[in-house]
Symmetry: C2
Subunit: 583 residues, 2 copies
């Protein structure tokens, strides 16, 4: 096995083309086995095996810097840079991140998992190199899907006037996570169809030099191409055509379904378990919206390249037709466009993962809230329960958006409340609304939820004395548990479901203040800038004491759920212990 | 005078071309007089007089929607839509906003003052129109400078596959605020030079239909052009060449200096007062950075199209040479590139107005802080003292960035502290740092500031008892005043300059807690998610009471400084009154 001998990219350079080609087969085999057992990003990694081998053959990492956009295509890079065991040794599958991670290797420059950042980051590395008088090469490797993101487009434009060496490899597999969206993809097709020779060329129009490689899965061709540009003294795009999912037949055909995968049976391609189910909030969302859309043609669901976040599979998108918009990887345009839709009297619902909501702070503030546009934003995966890589953790949403003026941020605790809030938000036309979609499988409370959320009022679930527990959203269950544990200790605590993240029900708070000496807040997110601090401020100049529970402000790397909850004193016994101590 | 008869765009339609041309002269005269007395955005407004007249002649606002990007070019639109008095009647100069404002007129669809948003917003209006089965036209008018912003580029790309009518007027005056930056501007020049006929065309590459109008200051030509496209059933770009500052000789030549202007003498063009001075933090910043850059070639100053925010006039940019980067209107690229520069060992300092910092939330979190890249961010105009239009208010910075993990946010109170923090931040390589540059003219305390800000420790300026005042950044002076007023009442208050916005000096806080029953926090920003709430949380489970002073979370429209301070109980007598009541 050649692969086992590759401890660093150096060993690669002694190999012949036929050995490198054999190596690519070994890499694919390792990828296939690991992903079938462990799951992970499939299609782009399978498409870029040869290009990664060729890059490491031609360039000298870590002196030369290879920046893999979004890291969805970095597995082969990991294998070739001393981390093959993460793919060869089943006992070590979980020991490495699925993303670029400088703490793992000097060959990874940045921790990164959001799209469209690589060209900007590479421009920075190149600029610093030139200022410091160094002579390393810098290569950004970016997929065609990621090109539509504003950060990438801004960087391509600036690269067009950058006065120094920079290589931008555009890995074109003619797909984003789902299909690509936007006019530029017609030009990429023209370029592919004309072997890079058509007059119309978006890269050249950004001021960039350009070369095309039609067979982006052929190592010898790629090596020649990279050799020919490696000492170019100005920015150049190397546009390579690759095949998403290459080497695994079902993935070559079902490209959206195989962008990323859960564990599967190699023979059949059948998944060993399905990600969503009828009780997932994603499916609940899509089914509910499809029903509403059928009755009301002005309702429109929007995504930025992640349609299944809200359960919109290909089949459901087809049913929704013109009432479903995928703008491609372009969160800014998605949300600003939603504001326009709302201002003109239609009813936009945009669904986004918390971690990508970060890309739209200005649009949320300036385009939506400043205009009180009645846009409904559904924030998914905004919970510590959604265990994830450090690049995709969603626990920062409350401080991020709840402090923007004119935005109502709601936290349902069950399916009934969620759908009631969604319906209310769609049907009103006065305010900008976001809903923190619970992380767990849907809980049916069996209760009828209120149908009007225009005025903030908390739901006091149980009235007691001494201790009041304000348990927000998906931490409501934790609040219930604490309440029950306190009851066992003879304490009759009050339990509140606040529902409203960033408004205060001062009537309720004043009433609580009268016969409770201690108020506990629980929130599924970091404490800094969050829900609990607003309660602490409200009671600041009173005798009522407040303890806020939530997460520490940090970027936690490779944590366990139990560990991080315990570390933040978020287990029932810890909270009860604190309460007993504070009484 | 024709102008006085134009109460709405309807009256325009009865005029002949020669009358419309005469009208354009009257509009320019009114603009010149008002801007000479009142100041405002000059160059783009003078360039687009004819195009605005032609747009209102051809289209039927408010049924048809005209969306002026960033509103820097909306004065003629305001004049033609019933608001001429704002430009003709000196006593009413201040009665209208300088930006698009729906509360003023049904002809303004959005409150907007950030660049690059118009195409997305217009796409939304067009989409809603089609869903609702309406038949109005939608026109986005966007300047060439604004095209480089990610939100605009994402929208151009999506427009290229949008299945409906949309007109995008690109108002090309070959300038941003300063010169344009990026490769696409070479293509715009080619297009202008070839009368729109060159093969290479970035708009076509985004999938858009295209027409070119060389004389964008000729009403008859423009009317013909707009008439010819108004019923197009798909998105089309109308690229018009206009002259920035047209009709006022000095502004036609000195285009950067006349992007916006303070009041001036019409005869000579001399400004009646200058915006900055030796005691402005902008000038202090540029002069200090130029000195440091001369000694250290790895220091690089970065802007996104607003170089003078940090005092970098054309002359100073020339001195800085390769150590100054203007990426154009492209904040995302600016900050992500800074992260790359820092990771490669050089020292980036990026200066930005608080309101535009909003565009980089994800870059600050994902590209910079997640990587602990030692980038220095200077946040200007983040104060209620910087009175501004609602579109540009900068009082949201503390909740926005201070809750991002791994970011140290510092608040100097005087020039000495500011420069000490700036030097420390440039010279360290461990953490991501932002500095909230004070809003006022520079205060020299005469004291030597500490030179190390790696570890949080507050500066206890004066030690007293009972009441402690934590007065942050530019509200430190207010804290001093309150302290002095309390002294006159026999109260010996403690005064603290916290310096650190988002870290707690728990030693100091514990010590304060021991012999103070009341802690007051003062911050120049909204309270929600801010500095004071962190203090309230810290003391939440103690006997120490806390009152937080700062601003209400809102988008205040056309406020007076005195009014808003009083409304938020931010005057010394009000605070003293509250303290006496709470003791």
């Amino acid at each position: 096995m050649i692969l086992e001998k590759i401890k660093s990219p150096k060993e690669l350079k002694a190999l012949s083309i036929s050995e490198l080609t054999a190596l690519s087969g070994e890499v694919r085999k390792a990828l296939l086995k690991k992903l079938s057992i462990h799951g992970g990003h499939f299609g782009s990694n399978f498409g870029i095996v040869e290009a990664t081998i060729a890059l490491h053959y031609v360039f000298n990492s870590p002196k030369d810097k290879l920046i893999f956009d979004v890291s969805h295509q970095s597995y082969t890079h990991k294998i070739l840079t001393g981390r093959a065991e993460a793919f060869l040794d089943e006992s070590k599958y979980n020991d490495y991140s699925g993303y670029s991670a400088p703490y793992e290797s000097e060959h990874d420059v940045f921790t990164m998992g959001h799209t469209s950042t690589s060209v900007s980051l590479a421009l920075g590395l190149a600029k610093a190199r030139d200022l410091l008088g160094e002579d390393n090469r810098v290569v950004a490797i970016i997929g065609d899907g990621s090109l539509s993101g504003g950060e990438a487009l801004e960087a391509l434009n600036y690269a067009g006037e950058f006065d120094g060496s920079l290589i931008i490899v555009v890995n074109d597999n003619d797909m984003s996570i789902a299909e690509n969206h936007g006019g530029m993809y017609k030009n990429l097709k023209e370029l592919r169809d004309s072997n890079g020779r058509c007059e119309s060329n978006i890269f050249k129009n950004f001021g960039l030099d350009y070369m095309y490689v039609d067979n982006g899965n052929d190592i010898a061709t790629l090596i020649d191409a990279f050799e020919s540009v490696k000492d170019t003294d100005h920015p150049i795009v190397v546009h390579i055509k690759t095949q998403k999912g290459k080497g695994y037949a079902v993935a070559e055909i079902e490209r959206e379904g195989w962008h990323a995968t859960a564990p599967f049976d190699i023979e059949t391609g059948n998944r060993l378990y399905s990600k969503n189910g009828a009780d997932s909030y994603s499916d609940i969302t899509a089914l509910h919206l499809l029903k509403r859309m059928k009755e009301d043609k002005s309702i429109v669901s929007i995504t930025a390249a992640t349609p299944t976040v809200a359960g919109f599979t290909k089949e459901r998108r087809d049913i929704a037709g013109a009432q479903f918009i995928d703008v491609g990887i372009a969160e800014e345009n998605a949300l600003a466009m939603a504001s326009g839709i709302a201002k003109a009297g239609a009813k936009p619902v945009w669904a986004v993962n918390s971690t990508f909501l970060q890309r739209t702070y200005d649009q949320m503030s300036h385009d939506v809230c400043l205009n009180s546009s009645p846009v409904t934003t559904l924030v998914f995966a905004s919970s510590i329960y959604c265990k994830s890589d450090v690049t995709h953790i969603g626990i920062y949403d409350i401080p991020m958006i709840s402090n923007i003026p004119n935005l109502k941020y709601l936290a349902p605790t069950c399916k009934e409340e969620y759908l009631a809030m969604l319906d209310w938000s769609i049907d009103q036309s006065n305010e900008s609304v976001a809903i923190k979609v619970p992380a767990s499988k849907a809980i049916c409370s069996g209760k009828v939820a209120r149908d009007d959320y225009s005025k903030c009022s908390y739901d006091i679930v149980r009235w007691g004395n001494e201790v009041a527990i304000l348990a927000l959203g998906s931490f409501f269950s934790l609040g219930e548990e604490v309440c029950n544990a306190l009851e066992a200790k003879g304490i009759n605590a009050t339990l509140v479901n606040p529902l409203f993240i960033n408004e205060l029900d001062t009537l309720a708070l004043d009433k609580i203040g009268e016969n409770h000496s201690l108020v506990i807040t629980l929130e599924d997110g970091i404490l800094d800038g969050g829900f609990g601090e607003k309660i602490a401020r409200y009671y600041g100049n009173t005798k009522t004491r407040v303890i806020n529970y939530g997460l520490k402000k940090e970027f936690p790397i490779r944590y366990t759920l139990e560990g991080i909850l315990e570390e933040n004193r978020l287990t029932t016994p810890q909270i009860v212990e604190d309460i007993l101590k504070s009484k």
